[in-house]
Amino acid sequence: MTTANSTTTRISQRFAELRARGEMGIVAYITAGDPSLDATLRFVLALAEAGADVIELGVPFSDPVADGPTIQRASERALQSGTTLAGVLSLVRRIRQKSQVPLVLFSYFNPILQMGIEKFAAEASAAGADGVLVTDLTPEESAAYRGILTARGLDMIFLAAPTSTDERLKKIAACSSGFLYLISRTGVTGAKDTLAEDLPALVRRVRAVTQLPLAVGFGISLPGHVSVLGGLADAAVVGSALVSEIEKSVSPEAAATALAERMRALKAAGKSGLSRREAQQ
């Protein structure tokens, strides 16, 4: 459970910079290959340019049990366009020729398992990915995976949930590096109007067990949500709201413009949100 590599990845550097500036980070999720890998390259560059601090590239999977309808449809579109895990890794390589934005691969376990964890980690690292989040892999089942990813210098982001006991939160924090991804509410991914009422208490429970930067996701779509989180978390994860922009747009060009606009609004809210926790110290 070493986190020795975590001070050296782009992810940790970015969170250190955010903390120094008293700024909330924005983590942007989009599904790779929706509607094509070429379009995703354009979207990533537009999001990075507009201020996204970390970009999560969703690896499409046929059976995304943790995802709501928006990302399910995006996964279907990406699979229809022929997207594979190998294709997503080649996209990472192309992004790295143009941008140093921190990149996290966000996947279900089976595609990684079928490629082979060793091969996946070696290629992800060589391509320039910084971290990996596997939706259906918990600390208990991940011993081999952690060993392999650590050896390749990849951050391992695990999910923490409102249902996680304090004991589980400790276990999750001990296995994580880069940042910890806190699910804001029970449920699947998807935009909601309001944040869960018990979110501040949940964040405090997680803060009590880890010094890792904390990114809060699921249901976050609006600058107002980011402002609320500004006192609580290090970053907000915005996914389905961005994926919706891609779905609604008439062309990849229009989608890239819409994504950049949204990101600028979210980032503006993040910049004005001083961390209450930092201010108290």
Partner: protein, 395 residues
């Protein structure tokens, strides 16, 4: 490809198979379920309530019937039928539904969600929910709702809400995805009444235990009737709950051979069948992988996307097999093979004409597997075929 290696002694592991691959939100509820199930197992009051409902509500024990006309017609070994089709609601599924329903009550969860393929598990869940005063929501692929319309009506009559699932192949796999999404959202009030020996720990173990009454009865019944153990057991395998229910009690009887019959569908090409352990017959596309919480043999593409399946039988139309079956196959303790849609339909007709029993298309696969290899049996072989459900739904 990476393969997972784990010692067999880990709870929830069958050799390397099984485990617990779920989003974090479900981990604490699964831990709670493990604790509740362990405590229930140790509680005589739970056992009494379970056995009482099995007997007085579901109608256990079910008969072990000598199929004398079928045996004579096939001209080979002596064949017995384990009549799970005679249970209340028409299939073995009620055994597990009663067990998990009682567990939901014990955990203080007022709501259950279930998936269903053929509709038998949905009907069993709706029935138990009505009997125990639980709210019930059943997810069912719209493809399956069309081909098992009678069971949709039965569930609604019993007060359950049936939600059609339009995603993916609109069959059992997609219904499980949707039930998992409901569970992850409503996890504090809801128990997921999973209907087969699939999913994350403790489901494969727990569902097996609730169905193991099938094999316990069959073993006593065959010893009483024939004064010896059977030589072969046949059962159909989708997820594999009726098969493991029959097999489990006989695992220590090394002389008893166990044969699981999968759905061969329309052909051996990936997409045309639902045979996960029949590579020897040429059925392609199955490799160990992770689907819906468990590590087992899964029909999938080279890059790890779950493949479409086909079977005339909605209950067998699923890309993964229960992890304990994967282990029994690896160990050589049970063997698995597939029969086609056409073979299953012919077997159903034969059983109807010769024995006056219309079996579910799922169960007809087990019989078709026996018929296919009938010439290989000796006269003094003694066979039990699990007739896991009745076929009214398939009319």
């Amino acid at each position: 490809m990476s393969t997972i290696t784990q010692p067999a002694a880990v709870p929830g592991r069958f050799g390397p198979y099984g485990g617990c691959y779920v989003p974090e939100t479900l981990m604490a509820p699964l831990e709670e379920l493990v604790r509740a199930y362990d405590a229930a197992q140790a509680d005589p009051a739970f056992r009494t309530a379970f056995e009482s409902l099995l007997k007085n509500f579901a109608g256990r024990p079910t008969p072990l019937q000598h199929a004398d006309r079928l045996s004579a017609h096939l001209g080979g070994p002596k064949i017995y039928l384990k009549r799970e089709d005679l249970l209340h609601t028409g299939a073995h599924k009620i055994n597990n539904a009663i067990g998990q329903g009682l567990l939901a009550v014990r955990m203080g969860k007022p709501r259950i969600v279930a998936e269903t393929g053929a509709g038998q598990h949905g009907v069993a869940s709706a029935t138990v929910a009505a009997k125990l005063g639980l709210e019930c929501v059943v997810y069912m692929g719209t493809e399956d709702m069309a081909r098992q319309a009678l069971n949709v009506s039965r569930m609604r009559m019993l007060g359950a809400q049936v939600v059609g699932v339009e995603s993916g192949s609109r069959t059992l796999k997609d219904a499980i995805n949707e039930a998992m999404r409901d569970w992850v959202t409503n996890v504090r009030t809801t128990h997921y009444l999973l209907g087969s020996v699939l999913g994350a720990h403790p489901y494969p173990t727990m569902v097996r235990d609730f169905h193991s009454v099938i094999g316990r009865e069959a073993r006593q019944q065959i010893l009483a009737a024939e004064n010896r153990l059977p030589t072969h057991l046949f059962a159909c395998v989708g997820g594999g709950s009726n098969a493991i229910g029959l097999f489990h009690e006989f695992l220590a009887d090394r002389s008893v051979k166990m044969i699981g019959i999968e759905a061969g569908g329309r052909g051996a090409q990936l997409g045309e069948h639902a045979a996960r352990l029949a590579a020897a017959q040429g059925y392609s596309g199955a490799r160990p992988g992770v689907l819906q919480g468990t590590y087992t043999y899964v029909l999938q593409t080279a890059d790890g996307q779950i493949a479409p399946t086909h079977s005339v039988s909605a209950g067998l139309d699923y890309p993964a097999i229960g992890p304990e079956h994967a282990w029994l196959a690896d160990e050589g303790r049970a063997s698995y093979s597939a029969v086609s849609d056409a073979q299953a339909l012919a077997a159903a007709k034969l059983l109807a004409r010769l024995e006056g029993i219309i079996p579910a298309l799922e169960s007809a696969h087990a019989l078709a597997g026996l018929i296919e290899r009938i010439s290989k049996f000796a006269k003094d072989d003694l066979i039990i075929v699990n007739i896991s459900g009745r076929g009214d739904k398939d009319m």
